[in-house]
């Protein structure tokens, strides 16, 4: 009985240690253990790339049928934090250069960052623009419910820069955690206007209308992509990056409103 108990204890301790060991390495969201390391590819990409990268991923998997891509779309700033804390990403695509710098400064890149797309700011309003919002200056009206991204995330920095370039003070009602949350607040009708990327307005289709921002006060968002240092699948990662920067990837990006750098 006693030895049985001891054996139980030992197996428990072993199981417990295994649990601890697993939990320290793998974030729960992307469990890659069920697939072979060769064929699995984990791509961490900015939220604004959601639709374009999903399509690129499908095209890539059609070309490389052995590969299964798992995407993690979130604010670039959140993704870089996750990777620097050891999340098992193969590829990181950022919506700005400063978050890419956070990765390279921490020496967590396995290749030199390559710029693969650019994007512009745009005002997003309700379908048909019922309030007749025509310019960035119109957003300074306090009767409007304006939402933008938080200053901690790239789209928030861009929004602040656009307001500064236009010389207006806009009091946002909410500082959203990522660009898709701004889109959601406007398409749900809770906010009157927001600053998002041109690609987001296009992605929202009938649910929203865009108001262009003149180039002289607008910002150009640069999207760099990189292989991470601890990439479980560095070969696949480089193949994916080549695909994104290649003709097929660029064509898909263009169809979602991205411009070429």
């Amino acid at each position: 009985m006693n030895s049985l108990g001891r054996r139980h204890l030992i197996s428990l301790v072993v199981a417990g240690l295994a649990l601890v060991a697993c939990s320290s390495d793998d974030p729960p969201a992307s469990d890659t253990s069920t697939r072979s390391a060769e064929s699995a590819l984990t791509v961490f990409a900015a939220a604004s790339l959601t639709d374009a990268f999903t399509e690129i991923g499908n095209a890539f998997m059609a070309q490389y049928p052995d590969t299964t891509i798992t995407f993690n779309f979130a604010a670039s700033s959140e993704l870089v934090t996750q990777i620097n804390e050891g999340a098992p990403a193969d590829v990181f695509a950022s919506a700005d250069l400063s978050n890419m710098s956070k990765l390279t400064d921490a020496d967590n890149n396995g290749s030199e960052p390559v710029e693969f797309a650019t994007n512009q700011g745009e005002i997003i309003v309700a379908p048909g623009n019922p309030l007749g919002i025509a310019s960035v200056a119109d957003l300074a009206n306090d009767d409007l419910i304006v939402v933008v991204c938080a200053p901690e995330v790239p789209c928030g920095k861009y929004a602040a820069a656009i307001f500064e370039n236009a010389g207006v003070t806009v009091t946002a009602k909410s500082l959203e955690e990522n660009v898709k949350a701004v889109v959601a607040k406007v398409t749900l009708g809770e906010a009157d206007a927001g600053i998002v990327y041109s690609t987001d307005v296009r992605a929202a289709a009938d649910a929203a209308t865009g108001v262009a921002i003149p180039a002289d006060i607008n910002v150009v968002a640069q999207y760099p992509i990189v292989v991470t240092k601890d990439a479980p699948n560095p070969k696949g990662a480089q193949a994916f990056i080549d695909f994104v920067t290649g003709p097929q990837g660029q064509q898909i990006l263009a169809s979602y409103g991205f411009t070429t750098p």
């Binding site: 417990g16 601890v20 901690e152 946002a172 607040k185 749900l188 009708g189 809770e190």
Partner: protein, 276 residues
């Protein structure tokens, strides 16, 4: 509850916990202690005071405390009658009503936030009239934060108090009524003291859930410092730009919760003599 605790103590003294159970319990303790130890280990202690006393942190902390206490108060005011209804009144569809009223416990909070939009937002079932008639909107307001927190927190109080209502010996209440006490007097002097430990437990659970609420709040109420940015939202956002500050804020949240959980348990839950 008190009785059960005493029995537990006696049993523990006579029969030591079997080794496998003890090992499992230790793994469980480590499971909860390790993440906390990790936070303490990584926290930038030398700069902690600076981050703590930053205006933004204090504003978020104050807002978190105010909103979570309001949410707790609303949960008690509406939740206790709801628990009483579910425990004491026989009616068709009671199980459906109970499931409905506790659904937000299992619902992903972000879904809860979107659902609140459809109910109370500017275009919601009720919200559109609030907006049209009173020019009043809940999203992006502090009231919106309280609503979102109450939505996810109240079920914790309701299920705890409902269980307590069911355990009350109704003969004691009947005796009180037969002796001429009014319904209110009976409730106040007989029922309430009996359920008080459960009420306290439920209120603390609801408060803790409200204090940590993130998904429904950021979805329904948005994120703006001083108006809707509670401490969990502030922690989440500063994690992306200033992880050190985020750690300090997270520890504040943990410290406040920990003090309340430790303090209240001893004071309210273990009070002898409240059981009939």
């Amino acid at each position: 509850m008190t009785k059960a605790r005493h029995e537990g103590v006696v049993a523990r003294n006579r029969l030591p916990l079997p080794v496998p159970a003890l090992a499992l319990a230790m793994v469980a303790v480590a499971f909860f202690a390790l993440p906390l130890a990790g936070l303490l280990w990584r926290a930038p202690w030398s700069k902690a005071w600076g981050y703590l006393t930053a205006d933004d942190s204090l504003t978020a902390l104050r807002l978190s405390l105010v909103c979570s206490l309001w949410a707790t108060a609303l949960s008690v005011v509406f939740g206790v009658p709801l628990a009483w209804l579910l425990a004491r009144v026989e009616f068709r569809g009671r199980r459906v009503v109970r499931a409905l009223c506790t659904l937000s416990m299992v619902l992903p909070p972000v879904v809860g936030g979107v659902a609140l939009f459809f109910a109370l937002g500017r275009r919601g079932i009720v919200g559109q009239y609030l907006y049209r008639w009173f020019d009043f909107t809940l999203p992006f307001t502090t009231t919106g934060v309280v609503i979102a927190q109450t939505f996810v927190a109240m079920p914790f109080l309701v299920i705890t108090v409902e269980a307590a209502f069911r355990q009350v010996d109704t003969r004691v209440e009947d005796a009180s009524r037969t002796l001429g006490a009014s319904r209110w007097y009976t409730f106040r002097r007989v029922t309430l003291p009996t359920i008080r430990p459960a009420l306290a437990a439920g209120a603390v659970l609801a408060w803790a859930r409200a204090l940590g609420e993130f998904g429904a709040t950021i979805t329904f109420a948005g994120n703006f410092p001083g108006t809707t940015q509670t401490l969990p939202l502030s922690v989440y956002l500063s994690l992306q730009s200033n992880p050190e500050a985020a750690l300090v804020l997270a520890l504040v949240l943990i410290a406040v919760s920990f003090i309340v959980l430790v303090g209240l348990r001893e004071r309210w839950f273990a009070r002898p003599g409240v059981q009939p």
